[in-house]
């Protein structure tokens, strides 16, 4: 076997505060305020101020090295902000690395997005040619595969209609169809499976599996662990820009689940370092499955009753109407819910240490990765006293062997067990009327 991609010590850093604010005048205003010791005038209230840290480097990808053999299907997993997208952008030459070197043998096609360069006013036929050429095919290649592409997309009826009249599903199907027929030696795929309906997702996965079987190299980045396991033999796990695991796909997935479990479902602070202000201090937060409290192992499943606990110190003198509010988002940054304690546990509390508990019943959340991205302490039902961001992150999987049955992306943010009944209105005995 020969090496298809050789990645050597790739790093990518961004400079805080160095990213242009858009206009020279605004940069000047920020600089002038900084000189006079005033706060950044353009900052939204409550946003952290990074002006003091201008020039500080944030490493999106740090010293990542690995090689991919020809014909290998490799997965890259990691949570949001782990550096997956940055690594893909470097590989697809959208942006350059800060240091390191990548050597590639063969043509790369990267699907960071499907339908790149589609023009809404042009017909489906025109867009196939346009999109194909942007992806690196020449006109002759597109012409050869044209029928196959149209066939795969299933929109042959509308091929001469401008794509702005397409439904979003048709649009995506056509876009993926072009991408699927690129025939590159190396295919880089980023989360394209999160589009389209279940049937189409299966078709896409099947197509990608075929690409891999044909001896071509596939790099697959996804949150969808079952799909990664289905498609890839090998996977690397990225965490905070570094590669923390490189090995068999199944091992990588369990490593990822284990490590994410340890690092994010429980936080605690010393009193000295606890985040907060003169009124509220946050000392800890955790999420547990009620049934698993004893051993505390394994990822949560959709049939676990979950319990979020928030420990805090209230320093507001006197009795006050204080509530705790959480915002929960899923891995696609879709807000699942906002829940406040004042709805169900309203009481006036005095200074002291408290524990707020929020129960998320079983059969509510769907599978996925959820983050409490905002935790707010609200006084008098409308006045935010203190806010802390990205407190906890946890994975929810389907219980039992169901876990790997459905390989497509989940459908719906929630997966509630609702009360159903089927009752007879009128039973037909013999004579249907």
């Amino acid at each position: 076997m020969t090496t298809a991609i050789s990645i050597e010590h790739i790093s990518k850093s961004y400079h805080l505060g160095m990213i242009g604010r858009g206009t020279f005048a605004e940069d000047l205003r920020v600089w002038w305020a900084h000189v006079r010791g005033k706060p950044n005038p353009l900052l939204r209230i409550g946003e952290p101020d990074y002006t003091d840290r201008i020039g500080e480097e944030i490493w999106a990808v740090r010293d990542v090295s690995f090689t991919v053999e020809q014909g290998e299907a490799m997965g890259i997993i990691g949570r949001n902000g782990a550096g997956k997208s940055t690594l893909l952008k470097i590989l697809s030459r959208v942006t350059a690395p800060t240091s390191g070197e990548i050597k590639v043998k063969g043509r790369i096609a990267s699907l960071l997005e499907v339908g790149t360069g589609f023009h809404p006013d042009l017909t489906g036929r025109d867009n196939i040619f346009l999109n194909g050429s942007i992806m690196g095919m020449n006109r002759e290649e597109v012409r050869r595969k044209f029928d196959e592409i149209v066939d795969f997309s299933g929109v042959e009826q509308f091929i001469d209609t401008p794509v702005k009249r397409y439904s979003s599903g048709m649009y995506v199907r056509l876009a993926f169809a072009v991408a699927a027929h690129l025939d590159p030696e190396i295919l880089i795929v980023d989360e394209v499976l999160s589009v389209g309906d279940a049937e189409f997702q299966k078709k896409c996965l099947g197509k990608m599996g075929k690409v891999a079987e044909e001896g071509r190299t596939v790099l697959f980045v996804s949150h969808n662990l079952p799909a990664v396991q289905n498609l890839c033999q090998r996977a690397i796990v990225l965490n905070k820009g570094s590669s923390v695991f490189d090995g068999k796909c199944n091992d990588a997935v369990s490593f990822y689940l284990q490590s994410s479990l340890k690092s994010h479902t429980r936080v605690a602070w010393d009193l000295q370092n606890a985040p907060g202000n003169s009124r509220i201090q946050l000392v800890g937060a955790s999420i547990n499955a009620k049934a698993k409290l004893a051993n505390g192992a394994g990822p949560f499943t959709t049939s676990d009753d979950l319990e979020i606990q928030v420990d805090f110190i209230n320093k507001i003198p006197g009795d006050s109407d204080l509530g705790v509010t959480i915002h929960l988002i899923d891995e696609r940054d879709i807000k699942v819910f906002v829940s406040s304690s004042t709805r169900t546990a309203s009481q006036r509390i005095g200074p002291g240490i408290y524990r707020a508990t929020c129960q998320i019943p079983r059969d509510l959340l769907n599978q996925g990765t959820f983050t409490i991205n905002r935790l707010l302490f609200v006084k008098d039902r409308g006045f935010s006293v203190f806010e802390h961001q990205n407190v906890l992150t946890f994975d929810v999987i389907l219980p039992g062997e169901n876990q790997f049955g459905w390989v497509g992306k989940k459908e719906g943010v929630v997966r509630p067990a609702l009360n159903w009944s089927i009752d007879p209105i009128k039973e037909i005995v013999s004579n249907p009327l």
């Binding site: 242009g20 020279f24 940069d27 952008k89 063969g106 023009h119 025109d126 942007i134 690196g136 006109r139």
Partner: protein, 283 residues
């Protein structure tokens, strides 16, 4: 590059060398460039009532306005030529330059979405714009020829000469100047958007610093040097001389403009090439 590198098709490094412009790669993407041209051409007048007629309406209205304002009201001398034709002989080639400059100047900002998702040689975009603007130019040039012959038949004092053969080179020089400055501006607007407004405004002002609505001979002597420093001046003057026979030809000024064009394209391409690698991080 060591011999060992030969076995790889793509090598991704933090920085490209200054003169690694990868023209060969651009050639491989020629189909895409032509599709871009075709897309711009087809889509620009979609959902308009008059459609491609706009290619003709714009220059006619512009030159009529000039005729009324600068010819009839301000009474600027037009070397005894029909004012309409006098203005048109300059605006037709000037419009090509200003379109090229404005369009290529928007390369990075206008295509952020595309550039952020897929790799292709970025120079393909400004080049496709030169070509699609060339189509517009050809249409408007034909319109110009129509009026040109109309006025000849009406016995206007027009003296076309062999400098007409120079037209393709003049067009090339306009394209080069538009491209060079356009991609330079585009590279600089990735950080500061202010420049975009400056350019739109600046192009309008630049037209008045170029003998478009007046002829160089009517410029007071003390400003002559200044106007002649403008590399566009000799191009416009030569074009007008070739078709209408008014004004003068200054071969050295033309050579100056040509060298100016070459330098601006080279400098523009070098800087564009540097910015292209990481512009996604700053845009």
């Amino acid at each position: 590059m060591t011999t060992n590198d030969k076995q790889w098709d793509i090598i991704i490094r933090p920085h490209r060398r200054w003169f690694d412009l990868r023209i060969g790669e651009l050639w491989r993407y020629r189909d895409m460039i032509m599709l871009f041209v075709w897309r711009d051409f087809v889509s620009v007048h979609k959902q308009t009532i008059l459609g491609p007629l706009w290619y003709l309406i714009q220059p006619i209205l512009t030159n009529l306005t000039f005729t009324v304002i600068f010819g009839s009201i301000a009474k600027l001398p037009t070397d005894n030529l029909p004012p309409f034709l006098f203005y048109m002989s300059a605006t037709v080639i000037w419009t090509y330059f200003s379109n090229c400059l404005l369009k290529t100047g928007d390369t990075f900002i206008g295509n952020t979405n595309l550039f952020g998702k897929v790799y292709f040689p970025r120079l393909a975009v400004p080049i496709s714009m030169l070509i699609s603007n060339l189509i517009t130019f050809v249409i408007q040039f034909i319109l110009f020829l129509f009026f040109f012959f109309y006025f000849i038949l009406n016995k206007a004092p027009i003296h076309p000469n062999l400098w007409i053969l120079f037209t393709p080179i003049l067009v090339l020089m306009m394209a080069g100047l538009g491209l060079g400055f356009g991609i330079l501006i585009s590279s600089m607007t990735t950080k500061y958007r202010d420049l975009r407004f400056l350019v739109q405004f600046g192009v309008q002002l630049l037209m008045y610093a170029t003998p478009v609505v007046y002829s160089i001979t009517s410029v007071p002597a003390r400003f002559q040097m200044l106007v002649r420093l403008n590399p566009l001046t000799s191009i416009i003057e030569t074009f007008r001389y070739a078709f209408l026979g008014s004004g003068t030809i200054q071969p050295f000024e033309l050579l100056y403009s040509f060298i100016f064009m070459l330098v601006s394209v080279l400098v523009g391409a070098l800087i564009f090439n540097r910015v292209e690698a990481t512009f996604m991080d700053t845009v």
